[in-house]
Amino acid sequence: MKLASKKAKVGFFSLSCCEGCVLAVLDLEEKLLQAFKQIEIVESRLLMEKVKPSALRLDIAFVEGSVVSKHDLNKLQYIREKSDFLVALGACATIAGIPGIRNALPPGLKEKIKRQAIKPIKEKVFPLTAFVKVDYLLQGCSINEQEFLDFLNKFLHGAKPRLQEVPVCFECKLRENACLLLKGEACLGPVTYAGCDALCPSQNVQCIGCRGFTNDANFESLDALFKEIGLSRKERYNLFTYFNQLPEQLKHLKGDR
């Protein structure tokens, strides 16, 4: 994976989503211009009219959005085929995020949606990992620009970036915030991957899990804690399924809406 001298060919793709993540990348502004010295954007519908002929193969593809239709799926598979390295960008692409709320709708509403849809859609919304091999995940809604830059920098040097598997509380403590749980407010920090610099708790707002649940989450314990704090079953269900699919361990929260 040595890129060294050649410019890396980069593509940005959006499946169904708000496109905030690619916009967040654009917000790197000067730093992005600097990175442009090392990369060549060869495909981006938001930025240019025509795909560059050199885009037949990509060194790295950034894909945001989730797969909601056959069209999205075809596009994703096409991107995977022509890219050496595929990065899922943002909550929609990594954990199905907000669009994934649809998956848990009661059957009646689901039917309604199906009936309403003009173009064929999939019954459920899926993150990219459900269909293709994803080489790296940049989590968050929206992504953290600094994390993007760090990743890109590592990648351009030929390093294999590793996911840092720590919970939000880790970074929250480093920022010396007063813990919301201790104040009696619900927070998903203990079960959510960090990397955001504990952005929400640092602004006195609960973590809502936009970076996905950790592989080491103790849902039962946190749920018990929320109950103690005074959250109703429905509120707890709401919170745990804000961005994420309801974990197996919390099946008991499910109920009629």
Partner: protein, 335 residues
């Protein structure tokens, strides 16, 4: 000779110091908790309750330790030392003991950790004795309720401080205009902690409880959130990683990051093999490292009884309760 300083004169004293030093004081941050921060005229907080320690000035969360530059003749490896001249005001006795424990490992044990010792050497400590017990502290049990190794020791007495310089360097920064000499005896700084830990034969007893069911029971609640290790003034475990400078061809640096034994990742090696995959084993590692392993290796406790890990745990797991109940079990079992 000892001195007194009126509380009103504290700010002028610190302001004076900040001309020559980076002065660190305890003060409330945006989210209302007391943290150690650079002095810029803000109100110094003398509350005993304190969730953050001055650890970050000795073991920062992210610390650059080397810079690597590729030159024609080859790589240039330069260590990066923090040589900031610093004064930390208001460090509590437990935290001074915490530094002693770290000194043991990083200065006296294997070799000299220059990065740590450079910070240590360039920092003057002004300790503030506790006159009121904090919520979860158990320094009395741990024998850490009196400051050690500080350059100056302050004790509150009404609206003034009783000041006892301990070192030459400490004495040298006392301003003669603000500090008045006194022949008084030092005011008592005896407190009575609400929490107490049985420490007789602690290291051995608790290790004998290695297989105790208590670990599992307690760990069921544990969120593996790492808060306990983050706030602990002696938790020093770290990870290193290299990073390239952005946009530069080959310049890179090595960083040291504070890590936590409560993470699965902490013991994961190639092949995805984890040596402490279960929550209970990780919780046990934390407690045993504090009470048992360090004692065996270094002859001192790694826990200084500050009680922060108890205060900060969202699920109210207390290492004191764990240790007490295990000791009880072990001793009863031995009968």
């Amino acid at each position: 000779m000892n001195y007194v300083l009126s509380k009103e004169d504290l700010a002028p004293f610190l302001a004076q110091l900040s001309k020559r030093f980076q002065v660190i004081v305890p003060a409330k941050n945006d989210s209302g908790i007391v943290t150690f921060q650079e002095f810029s005229g803000q109100e110094v907080c003398l509350e005993t309750e304190r969730l953050s320690s001055p650890k970050k000035f000795f073991r920062p969360a992210k610390e650059k330790i080397f810079s690597f530059a590729k030159k024609k003749e080859g790589y240039e490896v330069k260590p990066v030392f923090d040589k900031t001249k610093r004064v930390i005001f208001g460090i509590r006795p437990c935290d001074t003991h915490a530094l002693q424990a770290l000194d043991e490992l990083f200065i006296r044990y294997y070799g000299l950790d220059q990065f740590y010792s450079s910070r240590r050497k360039n920092t003057l400590l002004i300790a503030l004795q506790c006159t009121k017990a904090c919520e979860n502290g158990f320094c009395q049990s741990m024998g850490t309720s009196q400051a050690v190794g500080a350059d100056i020791v302050f004790t509150e007495r009404g609206d003034e401080f009783f000041v006892r310089p301990e070192t030459e360097a400490g004495r040298a920064i006392l301003d003669r205009k603000l500090f008045k000499q006194t022949g008084d005896a030092e005011p008592s700084s005896k407190i009575s902690c609400k929490v107490s830990l049985e420490t007789h034969n602690l290291a051995e007893n608790i290790y004998r409880g290695f297989e105790s069911p208590v670990w599992k029971q307690e760990a069921e609640r544990c969120l593996s959130c790492t808060s306990c290790t983050q706030v602990c003034p002696t938790c020093y475990c770290y990870t290193t990683d290299d990073e390239f400078e952005f946009g530069s061809g080959s310049k890179s640096s090595r960083f040291r990051f504070l890590d936590s034994c409560q993470l699965k990742r902490f013991t994961t090696v190639a092949g995805n093999h984890m040596f402490r995959a279960s929550r209970s084993s990780r919780l046990r590692q934390f407690v045993l490292h504090k009470f048992s392993y360090y004692q065996e290796n270094h002859g001192m406790q790694l826990c200084v009884g500050c009680g922060r890990c108890i205060s900060v745990c969202p699920t109210k797991i207390s290492l004191v309760e764990i240790a007490n109940s295990i000791q009880k079990q072990v001793l009863e079992g031995a009968k």
